[in-house]
């Protein structure tokens, strides 16, 4: 044996947990960007949210006129211009949350579907670091999808509002707050998807459940929950309701608020940070459960 220093002695210094997480995160980004699904999801986000926002902008300008002229009963609450614009911009969270949710779920379940967890865990045997790296990627990509959604909702919604002679309310502090918290909401929903996918591991099941829950189950639950006061109090903690609270706007919340006699009107809505905490708690529970169960299993 010669006295040549081995590579091992030089690489051994750079293997602390900190650099391990940085590497795991960078590797996850490399994996995401080497496939096409990430930008397809982003494109769908812009277009889907954009069309929804444009339709809502048109509907609300029309609705505003009808609500003031219709005199068929008690005077209905009227949406003021800022609220209407806020609702238009919040189409990101009204219809677009499914995108970051799917992204997060795919980030976890693709590894199981294509057995890529084997090379992933060989490269980083500490599975907690692998999951943490995915968490960073899920949060940042979720935020990116939030920005993509805002490009859709503001980019399509504001011109329609302006064309119909409605104020766009852009630059109003409360609207700016809604836009910023929208990005926080999509980041959290991407993390919810990651935790859910890591816990479920089956890609098909994850996609089906994510679509069914966000498109059917939760909206129905929220409508049903608003029937009684006690259920309305519980319904505030449904992820969609908590998201409306976090963002500060939501179609289902607004429809409830239009009728002051509804039982849900008697229940105080969550504050924005309370809504955020509900979602953060859900993320924590899902990721913790996954790291204690599925992430400890044998890699197949």
């Amino acid at each position: 044996m010669t006295a040549t220093p081995s590579v091992n002695s030089t690489v051994a210094t750079g293997t602390s947990t900190g650099t391990g997480l940085a590497r795991a995160t960078a590797a996850e980004f490399a994996k995401v960007f080497s496939l096409t699904s990430w930008w397809l999801l982003g494109l769908i986000m812009v277009v889907y949210v954009g069309i929804t926002a444009a339709a809502l902008a048109f509907f609300f300008s029309d609705l505003g006129a009808q609500l003031t002229s219709a005199g068929s009963g008690a005077p209905a609450a009227q949406l003021d211009a800022v609220d209407a614009a806020t609702l238009v911009y919040s189409s990101v969270t009204a219809v677009g949350l499914v995108i970051p949710l799917l992204f997060g779920a795919l980030l976890a379940t693709t590894e199981y579907r294509h057995h890529t967890l084997t090379p992933t865990v060989l490269a980083q045997p500490r599975r907690g670091i692998v999951l943490a790296g995915k968490g960073v990627v899920a949060a940042l990509m979720g935020a990116l999808y939030g920005v993509a959604g805002l490009i859709g909702s503001v980019g399509f919604g504001a011109p329609v509002l302006a064309a119909l002679g409605e104020p766009t309310a852009l630059g109003e502090p409360e609207v700016t707050a809604v836009l910023l918290r929208t990005v926080l909401a999509t980041a959290l929903w991407s993390l919810i998807g990651l935790g859910f996918g890591a816990l479920l591991t089956s890609q098909i099941a994850a996609i089906v459940i994510v679509l069914a829950f966000t498109q059917f189950v939760e909206p129905i639950l929220r409508v049903v929950a608003s029937v009684w006061e006690w259920s309305a109090a519980l319904g505030r903690f449904l992820p969609g309701s908590a998201t409306d609270a976090l963002v500060g706007a939501g179609i289902l919340s607004s429809l409830g608020a239009l009728d002051p006699s509804a039982p849900s009107a008697a229940v105080d809505a969550l504050l924005w940070w309370q809504g955020g905490l509900v979602l953060a708690a859900l993320v924590t529970v899902l990721l913790l459960a996954a790291s204690l169960t599925t992430m400890r299993r044998d890699v197949e």
Binding site: A24, P119, V299
Partner: protein
Amino acid sequence: MTTSMTPRTIVPTLVTIDSLTKVYGEVTALRDVSFSAGPGRVTGFLGPNGAGKTSTLRILLGLNRATAGVALFDGRRYRDLESPSHRVGGSLSADVFHPGRSGRNHLRSVAIAAGIDRARVDAVLEQVGLVDAARRAVGGYSLGMRQRLGLASALLGDPDVLVLDEPINGLDPDGIRWMRTLVRSLAAEGRTVLLSSHVLREVQQTVDDVVVIRHGRIVFTGTLSTLEAGTARVRVDGADRAALADALTRAGATVEPGDTGLTVLGIDVARTGEVARDAGIALTHLSDESDGLESVFLALTADEGSTA
């Protein structure tokens, strides 16, 4: 002055599998499996499909958890190594790639996660002959190409130890010859190579040491030549049969007298001839009646009922 391209010194590493037991629900896949693989040698881990080869190797690489026992690299578990991918390279299946990702991007993401110099990606692609296909999606690769990509991931960290599960599966005859040469040269550099196969014939010219597993139990460990010697069966006859039997017995063989000569077990045909010459006995017959390595292997791995 050293550069990243300077050949590094291999750290001789001993792989120790110590009393591994693995229970899946009701099924005991491994029972008290123990063996070792040393540096500078190619160890063939052989047994029929389902015997427990993959389970053992997955436990060794920290992917699966043993019910009991340990599998160590110089006394440390894979996950406790300071830089596992620089010490140990593993390829466990040709089915661990995303079909939509290119081979090169797969290797890049592994290199990033493991802290391996990015220049190694192109180096290993060259080494396994995948340069032309590197930028194509893995979904379009043949099984042989995916085997090469798996080997490339194992070589990425320029490791001291290579753990390869059925590396020959799906390779054409040229590919098998290429793999044999590569594996031999890796061992010649001082690396420890542990590879599994369910066909002894295909790795016979590659391995130095043999470990045979059957139904989750080790049934043979030793050098290939020990296994070969165990198969030797020679028919011999001479002018003085009694003296010949006596000389062969003294040389360590087991001699069975028969009507047409002697059956000699335990030494090969060449050694039998030497013994007769040294004893000054003229032979009237000398023939190699060995069953061959493959049939010994089959006998070792056959079910109890069909064992000869």
